[in-house]
Amino acid sequence: MSVIKKFLYVNRRAPHGSIYALESLEVVLIGAAFDQDVALAFIDDGVYQLMLNQDTSGIATKNFSSTYKALGDYDVNKIYVEKESLEMRGLSKENLLPLTYEDEDDDWAEKDSIQIVTSAELSDIIDNQDLIFSF
């Protein structure tokens, strides 16, 4: 029987000002092939990675924001965004990409992948992981 571990990918940095957001996502996508129990957490400036309407044409860098939309297809559908981090930045769920997945246990109904969680809830989530990646 193969091992299934709880992997949490913690993202705390804004996109585009550094490569951490992109290279974190690349690990998640490769990791998806290993059938582990994957979740992502967006905390502090990490919440900016999920903002709508990113247009990198002026800075001529790769616009990888649409890749987050593919996460649902890779069975990555537990995306935790910290409420306090959003509020500190004057943001709400409406500013974020509408990430969804199709729930095979519910007749392929389309559901939200993003869960806005409080610090207390996220604290519990963190405490229950087998392995936490930070970039």
């Binding site: 571990k5 690349e26 290993f34």
Partner: protein, 130 residues
Amino acid sequence: MKFGIMVNEGPYTHQASDTAYHFTAAALNNGHEIVRVFFYQDGVNNGTRLAVPPQDDRNITTRWSELAAQHDLDMVLCVAAAQRRGLLDKDEAKRAGKDTDNMAPGFNISGLGQLIDAGIQADRVMIFGD
């Protein structure tokens, strides 16, 4: 216990590679097993054999190569991160039509799957970065 070690920053600019090295050496000295040392992001720069740091300072790359040789460590540079930053072994250099390779002894190029594999196999994964 089995440890996976992840190094996300290059030599000298950040202390990450130093701290990772000292942790790894201590773990080995205390009888633990290192499943893999995985270099990602700028961490791949630890694998260049072309660095010529000053004589009166530690040679970070050589130190890793020596630890790997002494303990038969599996040290991996992520292929995607390495290609991006110009760390190539002979095969990669040939494939990319480059006129040289620059891999230091003890480092091997492989995919991100090796990082996930280390995560699955190890009891603990230690992340060293900025």
